[in-house]
């Protein structure tokens, strides 16, 4: 369906998915580095603690050294417990996150299947609709009925305009009659009608008043203004019924042939499949939101700013408060022994190691957060791509368009996700359906239905039979084209209701199986 001058939307999606995988891979690498650094830090902390304890043992009397060791062991136990709790929570979140990822992968596989199914149904629908249109055009009875219906619609439109004019005229002219006391006097007395009963002088004087305002003509005009708009409306209603009768015959022929060639079945399947796709996309969106929440929580746990870290700091501070490093340092300098100097040198070296590890960790953490953001942005673009149905087989981009530089530019942070989306959506087009192709054939290049800014007579906003609208359009020619659209719009609600009653699939908006335009 996509011509050689275009690249398919699914190819662009592949580029996006590749970039997404790359970003995910980079995020994982950074995560591994962070984990390694974490291990190094833990070891260093453990060694430093041991060194501090050795130093304490060296200086403090036997009893005090035992007390310190006992306290240190308690602290270590507490910290280990805290660490275990943190790791447990981290594991829980990670498991949940992995489950969400699995769930999403499953749903994405389902989405691929449904998309493929929909693409096949769209192809079938296009074939059958073309077939149906050809059959209808070749049917002389259908042609005759169509001509009659369209002519009736055009007259109906004109008549409705006249009724409105007539009502407006009455609205403007009647108040003069109602304000005139002379006219109202004679009118109330039913002057000039068989019901008028006055005799003698009164009759003569009434006649004098009637001549003064030309009452017979005025009464005629008054009655005309009061009654004619309603009479005209009733006549238009009758003509509308005639038009409805003709359209029902036309629709019945269309339905019967549609059933016979299997188009009705394809429409049913397509509508059902489209509904499933829309539902699945909503679920994917929901899952993504859940994953985002989990990711945020995981990041918070991994960062320095979490409840476990705060508790650990408190515990250590209370311990170290009794055993200041600086105090120990001062003590080592006072003594001539070499052992304490070695221990203190180790502590200093470990502190340096820890500081370096902390700096590296900070840097890696920031880098990973930046990649997570990019990953989230790409995820958003891919989801929006699906939601906008750019992955349908009718979706296309110009052959000259290369999405990679745009994606790279996004990954380098030169454009944000909205900028990337804009770059994609500006160039994306849907290949015309057979209806639009015929339209272009019929009306030349005046209107290009695949152009984004072209409303195509609100074609995509109507829930009408695309086959009928185009076939009638071809029968009508340019002169009656307006009648086709008006006629279809008049019939649309009633026909949809009738189809629902009969268990037939509805005509979706713009003839699409889904909420969007891609299928």
């Amino acid at each position: 369906m996509v011509g050689k001058n275009y690249i398919a939307g699914s190819d662009v999606l592949q580029v996006l998915e590749h970039a997404l995988a790359h970003a995910r891979g980079r995020g994982n690498e950074l995560q591994n580095s962070l984990s390694q650094l974490d291990q190094v830090t833990q070891e260093a902390v453990s060694r430093r603690g041991k060194a501090l304890l050795d130093l304490a043992r060296h200086y403090l009397p036997e009893m005090s050294a035992q007390a310190v060791e006992r306290t240190f062991n308690e602290v270590r136990r507490d910290l280990q417990e805290l660490l275990l709790r943190q790791q447990r929570r981290q594991r829980e979140l990670q498991t949940e996150w992995d489950a969400a990822l699995d769930q999403r992968q499953q749903m994405e596989t389902q989405l691929e299947q449904i998309t493929a199914e929909l693409n096949a149904l769209v192809t079938r629908r296009e074939e059958l609709q073309t077939q149906l249109a050809d059959q209808l055009l070749a049917d002389p009875a259908f042609q005759q009925l169509s001509q009659q219906a369209l002519t009736a619609e055009q007259a109906l439109k004109r008549n409705e305009g006249r009724v409105a004019e007539s009502k407006q005229e009455a609205k403007e002219k009647l108040p003069a009659y109602e304000r005139s006391s002379l006219f109202q006097y004679l009118h109330e007395r039913k002057y000039g009608t068989p019901e008028y009963t006055c005799r003698g002088l009164t009759k003569r004087l009434d006649g004098w008043v009637a001549r003064m305002i030309d009452f017979p003509r005025a009464r005629q005009s008054y009655n005309f203004l009061r009654i004619t708009p309603e009479l005209m409306a009733a006549e238009v209603e009758r003509r509308r019924s005639e038009f409805t009768g003709l359209m029902e015959q036309i629709e019945s022929i269309e339905d019967e042939r549609s059933d016979r060639i299997g188009l009705t079945d394809v429409l049913s399947q397509g509508v059902e499949c489209g509904k499933r796709r829309d539902e699945l996309l909503t679920k994917i969106q929901f899952e993504q939101e859940r994953r985002d929440r989990l990711e945020q929580e995981l990041q918070a746990i991994e960062s320095d700013n979490n409840e476990f870290y705060a508790q650990g700091i408190d515990r250590l501070q209370s311990f170290l408060g009794n055993m200041e490093e600086s105090a120990l340092e001062a003590k080592t300098r006072q003594t001539a022994e070499r052992t304490d100097d070695e221990i203190f040198a180790e502590i200093t070296w470990l502190n340096k190691q820890l500081q370096e590890a902390r700096d590296n960790s900070q840097q890696l953490f920031q880098e990973r957060a930046a990649w997570e953001e990019k990953l989230g942005g790409l995820d958003y673009i891919v989801r929006r791509f699906h939601l906008s149905e750019y992955d349908s087989q009718r979706s296309m981009f110009p052959a000259s368009f290369d999405p990679r530089p745009h994606v790279d530019s996004y990954l380098r942070g030169e454009v944000n996700r909205e900028g990337l989306w804009q770059a994609l959506s500006e160039l994306q087009r849907f290949a015309p359906t057979w209806v639009q192709e015929r339209y272009e054939e019929q009306y030349g290049g005046r209107k290009r239905s695949s152009d984004k800014n072209d409303s195509d007579d609100n074609l995509f906003d109507s829930d009408i039979s695309m086959v009928l609208v185009r076939v009638l359009g071809e029968i009508a020619g340019a002169a009656l084209r307006g009648a086709v659209h008006r006629g279809m719009e008049r019939r649309s609600p009633i026909r949809q209701k009738n189809r629902k009653t009969r268990g037939q699939p509805p005509f979706p908006r713009g003839g699409s199986f889904t909420k969007g335009r891609g299928f």
Partner: protein, 153 residues
């Protein structure tokens, strides 16, 4: 009457339906009434059709005006003819009260004669009542001062 019947063309008019004979024979009077209704319906429908086809009427009017102008030796442009037709339709069915004059004044007095008579009677009655009251006060020996006051007034 007949308009209401046209709104619901399926059932026969109520008053006629009630009088329809059970046998197949229709009296001349009944036949005549049915015919009247049918004619009225037809007339109304013709009127509606004529009004719905006002564009056609305008076209014919335009042709006739053009022919009349040609016969009388004058020339009328299409714009002049259209303006004349527009003016004609604007004034058609429009009502204007006659210009104010003694005749119209008298006509207004005439059509309000009942209200005027009622008002005059009320005023006359009030005057009469006042006079009786004044007289009663005047002749009353107990209220000379008040009687004089009323007379003076």
């Amino acid at each position: 009457m007949s308009y209401a019947q046209q709104q619901q063309p399926a059932p026969p008019p109520v008053e006629i339906a009630a009088e329809l004979p059970t046998d197949s024979e229709l009296s001349l009077a009944q036949m005549s009434r049915i015919m009247d209704v049918a004619v009225a319906l037809r007339r109304e429908r013709n009127l509606a059709e004529r009004e719905l086809n006002r564009d056609e009427t305008r076209r014919m009017l335009r042709e006739k005006l053009r022919e009349a102008a040609a016969v009388s030796g004058g020339t009328l442009t299409d714009a002049e003819i259209d303006a004349a037709i527009l003016h004609y339709y604007d004034r058609l069915h429009a009502f204007a009260e006659p210009a104010s004059s003694w005749q119209t004044f008298l006509a207004h007095v005439y059509i309000r004669r009942t209200q005027i008579a009622v008002a005059l009677t009320a005023i006359g009655g009030a005057i009469l009542a006042w006079s009786f009251l004044s007289l009663a006060i005047w002749i009353s020996p107990m209220s000379d001062g008040a009687g004089r006051l009323v007379t003076a007034w």
